[in-house]
Symmetry: D2
Subunit: 250 residues, 4 copies
C-alpha cells in the first residue's frame, strides 16, 4: 500500500482551515501532520515532515508563506485570493530556484463548478443559442456572480473562435431587464431567493434539443474535494499551476 501524503494546513484555526483539516483527516490517503495558525512558526511544517501544505489564509500573509514553503521544498495548494501578475511572477521566480516543487493557485476549488465551466466552453460552439442563469441566496451583493461572468466570457470566447454568430433573438418589445444582462454577447440572468445557496445553469439549444449543465453548491465544504485533488496531484506537477482544471485531464 502507498504511504499517505503528509499534509500541513495554514490558517488551521479558521472556519475554512478547519474544514480542510477534517477533509485531510477523513481521507484514507492523506495524513494531517501540522496545523499552523497566526501565532505559530512556519518551520513547524518542515519539522513535521509535511510534503504538501494547504493555504487558505489572507493576501497579506500568503506571499511570506509561499516564500517559506518553496524554499523548504514543500508543495503548496493555495486558495487565498489576490494574486495579480506581479505576485504570480514572484512565485514563478522562487520556483525557478526550487525546480522540483509544485504550487497550485486556484480561484475555485469546487469540482462541479470547474467542470461546469469546462463543459459550457466545450459545448458552446455546437448550439445556436446559449444563456446562463445563476441563482443565489438573497444576501449576495453583486449580480451576476463572478462565476457567471467567467462562464459567459469562456462561452463567448469559444463561440468567437469557432465563428459562431450571436444567439438568435427576435425580441422587439421588452420590459426593461427581462432579457437579462449582456456579458460579452451572452445573456445572464441572476435570481436571488431565500432558501438557495449557490447554483448555476448553462442552457444551450439548437434545432429540437437543449443541453443544460447545472451546478448546485449547498454547503461551504464543497471546496474540499477539489483541495484533496490538488493535494494528491501537486507533487507530480513541479512549477506553477493555475486553477484545478489542468489536474483533471479533461
Amino acid at each position: 500500500m502507498t504511504e499517505a501524503i503528509r499534509v500541513g494546513v495554514l490558517g488551521a484555526a479558521g472556519k475554512v482551515g478547519q474544514a480542510v483539516c477534517e477533509a485531510v483527516e477523513a481521507a484514507a490517503d492523506t495524513e494531517l501532520v501540522a496545523r499552523v495558525d497566526k501565532d505559530d512558526r512556519l518551520e513547524t511544517f518542515a519539522e513535521n515532515g509535511a510534503q504538501v501544505v494547504v493555504d487558505f489564509t489572507h493576501p497579506s500573509v500568503v506571499m511570506d508563506n509561499l516564500q517559506y514553503l518553496i524554499g523548504a521544498g514543500i508543495h503548496a495548494v493555495v486558495g487565498t485570493t489576490g494574486f495579480d501578475d506581479e505576485r504570480l511572477d514572484q512565485v514563478r521566480s522562487w520556483l525557478a530556484d526550487s525546480p522540483a516543487t509544485g504550487v497550485l493557485i486556484a480561484p475555485n476549488f469546487a469540482i462541479g463548478a470547474v467542470l461546469s465551466m469546462a463543459f459550457a466552453q466545450q459545448a458552446a460552439r455546437f448550439f445556436d443559442s446559449v444563456e446562463v442563469i445563476e441563482l443565489h441566496h438573497p444576501n449576495k451583493a453583486d449580480a451576476p456572480s463572478g462565476t457567471a461572468y467567467r462562464t459567459a466570457a469562456l462561452i463567448a470566447d469559444a463561440r468567437r473562435a469557432a465563428g459562431v454568430g450571436p444567439s438568435p433573438d427576435a425580441t422587439t418589445t421588452e420590459l426593461d431587464g427581462a432579457r437579462g444582462a449582456d456579458v460579452d454577447g451572452v445573456r445572464v440572468h441572476s435570481v436571488r431567493l431565500a432558501g438557495l445557496v449557490a447554483h448555476q445553469e448553462v442552457l444551450l439549444g439548437t434545432q429540437g434539443e437543449t443541453l443544460t449543465i447545472r451546478h448546485d453548491s449547498i454547503d461551504r465544504t464543497s471546496f474540499t474535494p477539489g483541495v484533496l485533488l490538488g493535494v494528491r496531484s501537486i507533487a507530480a506537477r513541479p512549477g506553477l499551476t493555475l486553477g484545478i482544471e489542468p489536474l483533471m485531464d479533461l
Copy 2:
C-alpha cells in the same frame, strides 16, 4: 353508459380547428357532429344536433357566432381572443334571454399553465422570496410572455392581500438587466433559446427550502385537454364562465 356529448367545431379547417376535431374524435365521451368553416352556414350545428360548439376563430366573427349559438341554446367553448368588457356584457345580455345555456371564454386552455398560475397564487404568501423565469423559442417578440405577466400579477396580489413584504434582495452592484424585469414587485426573467417551445418556472423560497412550479408546453396541441374539460363541464354551468379554472374545483 352515458351518451357521448355531441360537439360541433367552428373554424374546423384551420390548424387549431383540426386539432380540436381530432381531440373530439379521439375522446370516448365526445362525438364530432359538425365541422363548420368560413363558407358554411351556422345552422349546420342545430341541424346536426350539436350540444356544444368549440370556437377558436377570429375576433371579427366570434360575436356573430355567439349570438347564433346562444339563440339556438347551444353551449359554447371559446378560445378566440379580443373580449373586452363591452363584448362580455353583450354576451351576458344574450345569455340572460337563454338562461339554460353556458358559455366558456378562456384566454388559456393549457391545464398545466392554469394550474401553475393557481398554485403560484396559493403558495405566494408563505415564502419570503418569489421570482419567475419564463423560457421560450427565440422567435418570440415580447419579453416577458403574457403568461409570465399574469403569473407575476397574481403573485403580487396574493402577497399584498396577505401583507407579505417584498422579496429580500441585497444587490448593490448590478450589471444592467441581471436581476430581470420588475412586474409589480416580482422579478421576471425571460430566456430565449433555440430548441425550446414554451416553459415557465415559479421559484418560491424561505428558510432552508424552495418550491418550484414548472410548466413545459412542447406542442401546440397542449390546449386540447382543456378544451375537452370545457366541453364536458359547460352544460352544467349556465351563464358566462371566464377561464377554465372555475371548472377545475381547485
Copy 3:
C-alpha cells in the same frame, strides 16, 4: 400595533429546540418567554405567561406535556412523533374539558413539502400520467421516503375519486427496477446521491405539456416557518388540528 405572541419552548436545549428558540426570537410578532428542558418544571410556562408552547420532544414525555398544557389553557404546537389513534383520542378528551385551547399536531412542518403534496393532489386528476422522483443523501435507510409514500397515496386517492385510469405505460422489456416502485399504482423513483439533502419532484403529463412540482429542502431549519405559522394560527383554532395544511387556507 398588535402585541407579540408569548411563546414557550419544550426541549429547548436540543438541536431542534434551539432552532425553534432562534426562530421565535427572530420573528417580529413572537416573543420567547420560557425555555424548558428535561430537568425543568412545566409550571415555568404558566408562571411566564406563555400563550403557546412548541413541543418537539419525545413520545415518552409528550403526553404528560400536553396534559399539563391543555389543563393550563396553553395552546400547543407539536412536532413530536408517535401519535396513534389512542393518543389522539386522549388529547381530544382533554381538550373537551378546555374548549378554548388549541392543539396542533403535525408530522411535517416544511411548508414547501406540505404545499407540494397539496398541489400534487389537486393536479393529479387532470393529467394522463403522474410519477414521483424523490432524491436524498446516501445515508438514508429507507426507499422510497415517507413523504414520497404519502404523496403517491394522496395522488392515487385523488385519481381514484375522479375515475382516472392508470398512467399509460407501453413498457414490454424492463431491466429489473428501471420503472421504479409501485406505490398504489403510482411509480416512485428513489435517487441517493452525495451532495443532496431532501428533494422531491412530482411529474404530471398530458397531451403536449407537463407540470412539475419540485420541493428542495437543504437545511434542517426548514421546518421553522411552518412552526411559526402554527404559533400564529393555533389560538384561533380551538380543539385538535392535524397537520399544518388546514392552517393554510389553500
Copy 4:
C-alpha cells in the same frame, strides 16, 4: 467566400430524408444537388457532382449504397442502423481502395445527446455518487433507453479506470424497484410520462455539491445539426469514422 458543399440525400422521400433535405437547403454552406429514393439510380449523385451523400435508409440497401459511393469517391454520412463488425470490415476494405474518401457511421446524431454522454464520462471519476434518470413518452417499449444503457456503461468504465468505488448507498429497506435498475453498478431510473419526448439527466454528487447534465430532445428533427456537422467534416477525415464525437474535438 468558400463554395457550398454539394450534398446528395438517399431516401429523400421518407420522413427522415425530407428533414435532411430541408436542413441542407436551409444551411448557408451546403447545397442540395440530388435527391434519390427507392426507384432512382445511384449514378444520379455522380452526375450531379455530389461531394457528400447522406444515407438514412435501411440495413437491406445501405451496403449497396456505400459500395457505390466509395467507388465513386463520394463521402458518406450514414445514420442507417445494423452495422456489425463484419459490415464495418467490409466498409473498411472498400475504403482501402479509395483512400481519399471518408465515411461517417453514427448511431446518434443528436449533438446534445453525444455531448451529454461525453461530459458524463469525463465527470464520472470526480464524484462519489452518480445516477441516471431517463424520461420518455409512455409509448416506449424498453426501459431503460438504449442511450441510458450506453451512458451508464461509459460512466462505469470511467470510474473503474480511475479506481473509484461504488456510489455510497445506505438503503436497508427498499420497496421493490425504488432504487432503479443496476446497469454495471450505476443506478438508472426510467420515467414514462405523457407530454414528454426524450430526455435524460445524469446526476453527479460529492461533498456539498452536485452537477447535473440534462439533455432534452423534443423534436424528431434534432438529429439534423449533427448531420450537418458530419457533412461539413467528413471530407477532411478519409477512412471510417464511428460516431460524431471524433468530429467534435472535445
